[in-house]
Amino acid sequence: MSLDVVSSVQSPPVKKKRWGADKIYSNLSYLLMVLPGVVWLFLFSYLPMPGIIMAFKTYKLSRPPADYFIQNRFVYSLITSPWVGLDNFEYLTLPTNIDSTLTYVRNTIFYNLLFMIVGLVLSVMLAVMIFELTNHLLAKIYHSIFFLPFFISWIVVAYVVYALGSSAGIINSVADSLGLGSIELYKEKIYWPFIFVIANIWKYTGNGSILYLATITGIGRELYEAAAVDGAGKWKQFTNITLPHLMPVIVLLQILAVGRILGSDFDMFYTLPNGAALVKDATYTLDVFVYSMLRSATPLGYPAAAAFLQSAFGFVLILVTNAIVRKIRPEMALF
């Protein structure tokens, strides 16, 4: 996907004409067209942004006096709550909390890196394999099947995990009949990294391969023929032709993924373990941690501090990554 945000929208450098009635009419129509989206973006994306200062305040809910200019209790409380500097961040690093905070940060980054690498390798592999098949009908059938899990919700997957792995589940009944010990999925954390990786591969590989497959289909066949005539095997063709062509898409997707490295697929991490408290150390990511604090009696400043770290770090990371890419290969940079 091309995100040439700034460059491509510029009008052609023809001689500047005065704004005629027609031009004004066109631009007014265009403004009207973007209006619904602008309203949505303002309400759901921009309005919550100032709320990020909650991370530096002790949020106290209070009722605005009758003559105050905003009568909304949240907005009033946000404005009037006292500033506390970095106190909320210190809470996350107290001796009693530092271990769990670090564990959750580590989980988040570890799972994200794992998914990025595994996802990339398998999606590209799948795209190449499907492209090489001689029978197009079969290729289509395979791809339809691999793409299907993308449409199944994580909650249904949680049912599958339960049906396979609970004490009455299929895996345990097989283990029983083989005389092996039983597997306590919801009590032992060792299994969860595997479950998440498998679930992630299952759900996203088919979808991830579409872009790569489309790019490979678009590569000129003459390139491969010339390479084959020169004696390059399939692997040489892959590394010297296919991979360079895929690079822009890969770089783009990885930059966006780096920006989300402290975020996570909340639905998956939250629903698959089914709220099993014993496996928290392997299943909690920062998102789940923030949500669970938000819904407990914890003062709002603490989850706000963790959420601030997520947003701020993500933003900085995406800028840095993009700057690096821009330095090395300007044409591949996101913006």
């Binding site: 265009y30 309005l47 949240f74 049912y159 009455a168 299952w202």
Partner: protein, 318 residues
């Protein structure tokens, strides 16, 4: 960034171009082809196992599930769970209704909003294109964090415990705006638009009568993905709804599974408090999961034709 790629043979990324040289020097050997086919077929079977497990346990008889646990092939089949599921007007039916309504409303809204927002951005004569592109794109890079979002949607936008909560937060997407913008640029030649304008059609009429009909694959892709997104959405309901009257389907089936797992695992500690045999039956729960997936699987083939085309054109070329 511009991804320079030849246009894929539209709508059929699986078809390969014919070699102009006599012998096809690029075809893989029959042995390699066979090995690839075996590998892919095997992976396909693995991919389908989870779906199979859910379906098969939903048509297992309760007695055989209780006696043997989950099996790949049950001793006794039964359609009881489905009869039970559709007979009672209980939580599942309410949730189903909520989810169907919000999916329809949210899909229409997002196609309209994304379709409208992306079009001016694709036109060279829009003076504020750069600004509005950035206005949408910036939200992909930075956000106010979950806590602030939670407070604003509940206390300022007043979405808590309404049906709106299930679809409004998912009714627009900057990502699809960018895909659609590229789609318009690639698929609607500006000559056609200018011709329509010279013939006297206004901007809106040009958009509705010329641009929209040419952009059906792209818009259908947006429709499909937002429909799936809202149908499968769990987060909106988790964050914004506490009242069972407005629960979505995904949230309802998750809560059911969660409660039951907790009760079963702690049954020994709660002796006398809970009669485990009175819990909703296991097959019933699996039938719930099947009914949740059903409509998506049915819609899948209809949309597949469109979305591969929509995705590849909108996303790759630039």
């Amino acid at each position: 960034m511009t991804v320079k790629t030849e246009a894929p043979s539209v709508g059929n990324i699986f078809a390969k171009k014919k070699s102009r040289v006599g012998r096809d020097v690029l075809a893989i050997t029959p042995a390699t082809n066979l090995a690839l086919n075996l590998l892919l077929a095997f992976s396909c079977i693995l991919t389908l196992i989870p779906v199979y497990v859910i379906v098969i346990s939903s048509i297992t008889s309760e007695a055989s599930l209780a006696a043997n646990g989950y099996r790949l092939w049950p001793e006794e089949f039964s359609g009881m769970a489905y009869r039970f599921l559709f007979s009672q007007g209980s939580i599942v039916m309410t949730a189903y209704k909520n989810t169907v309504i919000s999916t329809l409303a949210g899909t229409v809204l997002s196609v309209v909003m994304v379709g409208l927002y992306a079009y001016p951005l694709s036109r060279d004569n829009f003076k504020f294109g750069t600004f509005f592109t950035f206005f949408a794109f910036f939200t992909m890079l930075f956000n106010g964090g979950l806590v602030s979002y939670y407070m604003v949607t509940r206390q300022v936008l007043l979405l808590q415990n309404t049906l709106w909560a299930l679809f409004l937060p998912s009714a627009f997407s900057p990502f699809w705006v960018i895909v659609m913008r590229t789609f318009y640029k690639m698929n609607v030649p500006s000559e056609i638009i200018e011709a329509a304008r010279i013939d006297g059609a206004g901007e809106w009429r040009t958009f509705l009568q010329i641009v929209v009909p040419l952009s059906v694959p792209g818009l259908a892709t947006v429709a499909l993905f937002s429909a799936i997104g809202i149908w499968n959405n769990f987060f909106n309901c988790l964050i914004l709804v506490d009242d069972a009257q407005y629960y979505s389907l995904q949230f309802t089936i998750y809560t059911t599974l969660n409660n039951i797992r907790f009760l079963l695992e702690n049954a020994d500690k709660m002796q006398g408090l809970v009669n485990v045999s009175e819990l909703p039956s296991q097959t019933f729960r699996m039938a719930m999961a099947v009914v949740t997936v059903g409509p998506i699987i049915l819609a899948y083939p209809f949309f597949q034709r469109f979305f591969i085309k929509g995705l590849t054109i909108g996303a790759i070329k630039g």
